[in-house]
């Protein structure tokens, strides 16, 4: 289960950034809040992921000066990132639906 959670982190981050640009700490807090602690991870692991996604062109980082405190690097999703998000979300939806079906639980029919 841990591997599944790890594998889904990129999808979760992209889905948050699809809503609005965010900085690292904000992303970590928001993931923890929305998942009620289920997607709990060492916050330091978020930055290698963000930098890798930035290098791959999925997100774009931009520094912004903050009045009180150090500057923040805001990440926003790129068109390529949105495309990856849509594809990954569809894959995960299909995966979870098929899994639930095998487990004998209620699930909506898979779209693909």
């Amino acid at each position: 289960m841990t591997d599944l959670r790890k594998g889904s982190t990129q999808l979760l981050v992209l889905s948050l950034l699809a809503e609005e640009p965010m900085y690292g700490y904000q992303i970590a807090k928001e993931l923890g809040r929305r998942s009620e602690g289920y997607f709990d991870f060492k916050e330091g692991t978020l930055y290698p992921l963000l930098h890798r996604m930035e290098k791959e062109g999925l997100v774009k980082g931009e520094w912004q000066v903050v009045e009180k405190g150090p500057s923040r690097k805001y990440y926003s999703i790129t068109p390529e990132g949105r495309s990856v998000l849509e594809k990954s979300a569809a894959e995960w939806t299909t995966f979870s639906q098929r899994l639930l079906k095998i487990l004998g639980q209620e699930a909506e029919p898979a779209s693909t």
Partner: protein, 160 residues
């Protein structure tokens, strides 16, 4: 929810210094990463302070939540290792072209009888200069690019 720990947690500067030492990246990239992580830890500690922790406890908790400096640095190195590999390849390319010129194009020209000059010094210098520019201009990992440039250029010069 207060945590007690027997092991002494590093201060913010100690933690960032430890992280920076283990990044092994070029200075501008390293500084940006450290700046970003500093911003995170300061804000995280501020959050713990609002919950009633002392400034020292808050920073210790923020660092504990962030993770070990060595592990974060290792993951960051892996992200940028690809750039280092590309820099090495970028440095190799012009040298490979030099060798291709010597072994393929030059013999072909001599076969045609249209050119019998000795281009070695000019070609070596110009292509070495080109090789010097490519990793520096196109890659973030300058030190790897230039190290590779020096290595492959020596090989190329030895082959001329």
């Amino acid at each position: 929810m207060r945590q007690s720990s027997d092991t002494k947690m590093p201060s913010l500067e100690e933690y960032l210094g430890d992280l920076a030492c283990q990044l092994h990246l070029d200075t501008p990239t390293k500084e940006k990463i450290v700046q970003e992580i500093r911003s995170h830890l300061v804000e995280s500690a501020r959050g713990f302070q609002k919950e009633g922790y002392s400034p020292e406890e808050s920073m210790a908790l923020a660092i504990a939540r962030f993770g070990e400096a060595g592990k974060v640095a290792k993951m960051m190195r892996q992200v940028y290792a690809e750039s280092a590999n590309q820099a090495v390849l970028a440095a190799l390319l012009p040298v490979a072209l030099t060798m291709a010129f010597k072994w393929v194009i030059l013999p072909f020209l001599e076969t045609l009888g249209s050119w019998q000059g000795n281009p070695t010094p000019v070609i070596t210098v110009s292509l070495a200069f080109l090789a010097l520019l490519i990793p520096g201009l196109s890659m973030r990992c300058w030190r790897y690019g230039y190290a590779a440039w020096a290595f492959f250029s020596l090989i190329a010069i030895a082959q001329m």
